[in-house]
């Protein structure tokens, strides 16, 4: 028993004591016997709760008593004795009811039960009476392995009584007619015969009767307040009796009269036969209502040849088809039946899913949402747009005429001279090669320590030089074998004898002209970009050839610089810019400047220094862009394979979005004179488009895919990194990650 249980018991015990002790002095004063006096005294005190008192209502108390006694028996002898009258009642209630006698009380003059007196000796207490084993309420299996089963009052071992084997048990059941009335006593480990009283209780419990044989549940009621002389004289309330108690209801009368009148007038016929409308009649005789009829339900599918009981043999499923049909869930099956062939009609069995299919049809009818669909009955090929044939749109590059290889490193960038005769290509190994477009012969090679980020030839025709972007630097180089006039002019532009005056605002960018003693190979002019600005990702020239813009790969401030050759001055066009700048472009005609951040393209007016518009291509990451020579159209490509064509007059959303490359787009360029543009991608393909732009604003630009040029290999996930058109020729030069530069001719 737990501690809390113990304390609870003690508390209860105290209550019991209190209750028991209360009548104590009373009994002394009255001097009557303990058992009988309770009733008498109650009867004397008041007749109100007499009935209640007649029942021995000590159930809970007796329980606690029992527990208490079981736990610490014999510790409080006096208490036991004092509460003996209560506990004896409880015990008798629990075990055997002593016979009660019904006698006429001499005090009240009524009948009452009198129970035999219990002698308050040791025998009266059932718990101490016959329990020779004093181990208490412990699990008896603790003694399973021991020769004894417990201890008696004197602390001596009680030896285990001999128990016969199964045969003995059986024999005893056969021989002893009373053996079935014995029950196994756990503490004594032996069978004990039940007393006749106990057997009687069991019988009564089985028969759903009250266990006490003397208890009468149907005792005659005692009339307390009814009958002559017992009624209450005084009323309970002093309110006067309402009128409705003794006047017949007016409203009831009205209601009844209504019915009576109806019956009289024949409006209600009591036992009228049911309505005489015929079950079926000509319902469509009267004209239909103007409501449109509801849509008829779709008709079920008509059966096909394969549903025949005797189909052509080719409709029968093969073993594989049958296995697949059976493996599928019913809702995944294409057909809800398996074709089967019967040689005669008499062999055809009932279709086992007939009712289920009918039911499914009904579910379709009332549970399935219906949608009215117009069935497209068109040739799928008519959906493909009709475009002019590529053959009619020649010339465009269609084959590779020559290939120029860089030994190592992928070719990142290339540029073609404005006269269209020379190409420079730079690779990641730091090599810049100058070669002829027509024959592919290398004329000169420069070697730098860093990888080449960008290359761009100056668009001016009267001078000839190009800019190479390497780590933190822009290098201006003059190609060899120039005509002397051009050479001197170039030299005077890049390294004038008299330097222009230094600008008012100091710039972090330094323009260095190396001393003239250095070799012809070395750059004639160097622009030192701010340190740690990284490799210039892009260099782009203004069409006049005086300004050039560079985008460095470093973060912060965009790394965008605009350099002016004539004034030898660099400036950052933006103080602050949102997003990292990917690309910049000069507008070919207006003083506008395109800046592509990761997701948007912004168009600035450099003259007025304000934002003109923001284009939203919807590309996740812009990789390349180019503006049409007319300046009205812009194409933007992204790493997410999309190409967007913007009509700058129209909207800031793309006019057309194309997705045809299987990998990221790398480079895009409009041809300066022909209506062509090319795109290259990491899938190793170059795609040539015809792009005709009309002058009138009504006609949409015409975009026709012309040719897919394949020939570059994909290396480490990179394909064709840059494409450039030759000026004046429909030729394309492409630089690939496989170290090759290819010229594609028409």
């Amino acid at each position: 028993m737990t501690a809390t249980g113990l304390t609870k018991n003690l508390k209860k015990r105290k209550e019991v004591d209190g209750e028991v002790q209360e009548p104590g002095p009373f009994a002394e004063t009255v001097g009557l016997e303990m058992l009988s006096d309770e009733e008498d005294e109650d009867g004397g005190s008041g007749s109100g709760d007499r009935e209640v008192d007649e029942f021995p209502e000590i159930d809970t108390r007796s329980d606690s008593e029992d527990e208490y006694e079981g736990s610490e028996d014999g510790s409080d002898e006096e208490d036991d004795e004092e509460s003996s009258e209560a506990s004896s009642d409880a015990d008798s209630g629990l075990h055997i009811f002593p016979e009660s006698k019904t006698i006429l009380s001499n005090i009240t003059g009524q009948l009452k039960h009198v129970y035999p007196e219990i002698e308050p000796d040791y025998d009266s207490d059932s718990s101490t009476e016959d329990a020779p084993n004093r181990v208490g309420n412990v699990p008896m299996h603790w003694y399973d392995d021991l020769p004894h089963i417990g201890y008696d009052m004197n602390g001596k071992q009680i030896l285990r009584p001999a128990r016969g084997d199964e045969l003995d048990k059986f024999l005893s059941t056969v021989e002893d007619p009373t053996s079935w009335t014995a029950a196994f006593d756990k503490t004594l480990q032996m069978d004990k015969p039940l007393t006749p009283e106990e057997l009687d209780i069991i019988r009564r419990l089985q028969a759903n009767e009250v266990p006490d044989p003397s208890y009468n549940p149907y005792e005659p009621t005692t009339e307390w307040f009814t009958g002559k002389g017992k009624e209450e004289v005084m009323p309970l309330t002093s309110a006067p009796e309402p009128k409705r108690r003794w006047v017949p209801s007016k409203w009831e009368k009205q209601k009844v009269m209504k019915i009576v009148r109806a019956i009289r007038q024949g409006r209600i016929v009591p036992f009228k036969p049911s309505s005489s409308k015929p079950q079926f009649y000509s319902i469509w005789a009267e004209p239909p209502s103007s409501h449109p009829p509801p849509l008829p339900a779709p008709k079920p599918r008509l059966p096909t040849h394969s549903e025949s009981y005797n189909p052509p043999e080719e409709y029968l499923p093969t073993d594989a088809e049958r296995a697949e049909w059976e493996a599928n869930d019913p809702e995944d099956r294409e057909k809800d039946y398996l074709p089967k062939k019967y040689s005669a009609l008499r062999l055809v069995p009932a279709y086992d899913r007939f009712i289920k299919e009918r039911f499914n049809r009904q579910l379709d009818l009332y549970l399935a949402p219906r949608v009215q669909r117009t069935k497209l009955n068109i040739d799928p090929n008519s959906l493909i747009p009709k475009l002019p044939s590529p053959n009619s749109l020649r010339p465009f590059p269609s084959y590779r005429s020559l290939r120029f290889s860089h030994d190592k490193g992928r070719v990142r960038c290339l540029s073609i001279s404005p006269d269209g005769a020379w190409t420079i290509s730079g690779d990641e190994d730091g090599v810049v090669s100058l070669w002829e477009v027509n024959v592919g012969r290398e004329v000169k090679r420069w070697k730098f320590d860093y990888k080449i980020g960008a290359l761009e030839w100056c668009p001016r025709l009267d001078i000839s030089f190009f800019v190479v972007g390497v780590e933190d630097k822009l290098l201006f180089l003059i190609p060899p074998h120039l005509p002397s006039a051009v050479f001197t002019l170039t030299k005077s532009v890049l390294a004038p004898a008299t330097l222009p005056p230094a600008p008012a605002t100091p710039s972090p960018i330094k323009w260095n002209t190396p001393p003239s003693s250095t070799s012809a190979d070395s750059p004639i002019l160097t622009i030192d970009l701010p340190s740690s600005s990284g490799v210039p990702r892009q260099i782009t020239w203004h069409r006049r050839g005086d300004y050039l813009a560079s985008v460095s790969s470093s973060e912060g401030q965009g790394g965008v610089w605009i350099h002016q050759i004539s004034k030898r001055h660099s400036q950052a066009p933006f103080k602050k810019i949102r997003g990292s700048v990917q690309l910049v472009l000069f507008h070919p005609l207006k003083p506008h400047f395109f800046v592509a951040t990761q997701r948007y393209v912004r168009l600035y007016n450099l003259a007025e220094q304000k934002l003109v518009k923001t284009l939203m291509p919807g590309i996740k990451w812009i990789s390349c862009m180019d503006v049409h020579p007319s300046g009205d159209h812009l194409i933007v490509g992204g790493y997410d394979r999309k190409l967007c064509w913007f009509d700058l007059e129209l909207s800031d959303k793309p006019y057309k979005i194309l997705r045809y490359h299987t990998r990221a787009l790398r480079s895009l360029q409009f041809h300066p004179t022909y209506p062509l543009f090319a795109s290259s991608s990491d899938d190793g393909a170059i795609q040539i488009f015809h792009s005709r732009v009309y002058n009138d604003l009504m006609t949409d630009p015409l975009i026709v895919p012309l040719k897919i040029l394949r020939g570059h290999e994909v290396k480490e996930g990179l394909g064709v990194l840059q494409v450039k058109w030759c000026y004046g020729q429909p030729w394309l030069v492409s630089a690939g990650a496989d170290g090759n530069v290819a010229v594609w001719c028409s």
Partner: protein, 620 residues
Amino acid sequence: MGRLRTKGKAGAAKAYVTRSSAVKRLQCSLADFRRLCILKGIFPREPRNKKKANKGSTAPTSFYYAKDIAYLAHEPVLKKLREHKAFAKKLSRALGRGEWSSAKSLEDNKPSYRLDHIIKERYPTFIDAVRDIDDALCMIFLFASLPSNSRIPPSLIENCARLAAEWQLYIMHSRSLRKTFLSIKGIYYQAEVMDQSVTWLVPYQFTQNIPSDVDVRVMLTFLELYQTLLGFVFFKLYTDAGLVYPPPLDTQKDEGGAGVGAFSLQDANHNATLVVAAKEVKVDGKKVSSKDVRQTIKHIVASAPPSSEGDMMMVDTHTNAAETDEEFVAQPSTSDPNAPTILPTLQSLNALPQTISADLFAPYTFFLSRESSRPIFEFIVRSFGGRIGWPPSSGSGSPFDETDDSITHVIIDRPLVGKPNETAEERDRRFRRKYVQPQWVVDCLNAGKILLGEPYGQGKTLPPHLSPFGEYEGAYDPTVGLTHGDITITEAGDGDEEDVSSSADDDTEDDAALKAAAAVAAEDPAALRAAELAAEAAGIDYGTFEKEVTKSLTKAKKADANGQPDREDDMNKMMMSNKKRKLYERMKHGEKKREAQRANLELKKLTITKERKRVLKSTS
């Protein structure tokens, strides 16, 4: 600035209600709501944007039009259902209290609803109703064959059987059956009533058991509606045909298992002039269209034989058949010369919309043998004007017995067994009659003419039974030879002839090698020379090799011709909008799937024919 718009006050949020809110709005139980929906033909709708219709929630729910639910709220049936609920409460209370008399009076005044207005509402014109009775007929025929149990009272089944018989009687009377198909699921019938084709499915005559996953309440609700609908439709059909509805039932015959024969059609004119007069008035009051329809029906019924006489070819065979009716031995000889000329026309007839003469079987008298199903063939034969008899074991009411001399055909479905002790009379009778399997009857009526009985003889392996309803356009047609397979068939044939001695594997290998060589050789002359040599070494004669080469050459040319525009198309596909591209892809996918199905069937057919040839060769 316009007025502020509150969310959920207009548009989809207002036009749609979810099912639970509909139930709440109607203040009825879900079961009652279902019942109403079935009776009124209200079904859920799919809103274009579920989120907008469901106040921003995307939980899976079904939506109804709010207007539909608003109409339901005024439905008299709903009122009756509520009354019935109250009635059930009152009745259970009365029964619980043991007030038997009040319970009885309550039971007498039990609220019951009628569905007339719903029928009129759902089918404003008679044509609408006829168009929609397919499902109703299927259900009626199904329930007519079900065993009764605690949920399906016998009276219901009896009523269904009665309706089914009435429909069959009408079809037989009006000769409007058009097509029949014996399928594994049951028998499909198609009739043309009021210019609407009505198709219904009848299960084979076996006891059906309702599976546990079928909600019988739903089926019974549908059945309730269908019974009413069919009652009204039949009333109209019968009265328009000048017949009394309902046709009187001869209970004695019915108990004898006479089936359809237990009902007798009575002409309304003969019966009671009063009724006719009343009907005349009605007809006059009606629209002209229905009157016309009635007249045309009468006209068709009356003048069926002369109208069909106007037909071409088919009538010839008919008259032939009619002439040769008596001496049956002569018939094969007359039909033999016809056979080759008929065969091509059969296909053309199949392709054309069939003009079925309504009395195809009029010249014949059939006798059903015991194992073929009487209800099916009695219905089919009688709706095409034939006479039919059956043994007493198939039910009473046969117009003649087996010994009748007028019997021309016996529909028999059992294997051929020699009869050792048959009398001369029996043998004589056997020779005079034609013994055909049941499929012959169905194939005849689907073909619209009397077919040769030869392949359908007793104990013969039947020709395949094809669906008269056809399949989708461009599907595999089992009646026609292979379309693409022409070459391949000849090819295979060649191969077979070439090396009968060599095994099948060798044959195919050689073929493949040859083809590959030819394909390569088509391009350049050097390879051609090499391939020629190889072919010679392989023992293939020059003729076949040359054929192969030319074939592959033409194929390559074709591919070239196709290839250029194909590539252009591929490029042009880039310029398609996303929506169009998806549509295109879906269409192409469906096309490819259909093509694959067709190819699969053709391949199977090819292998089957090859196998058959091989077996034939090996046996001969």
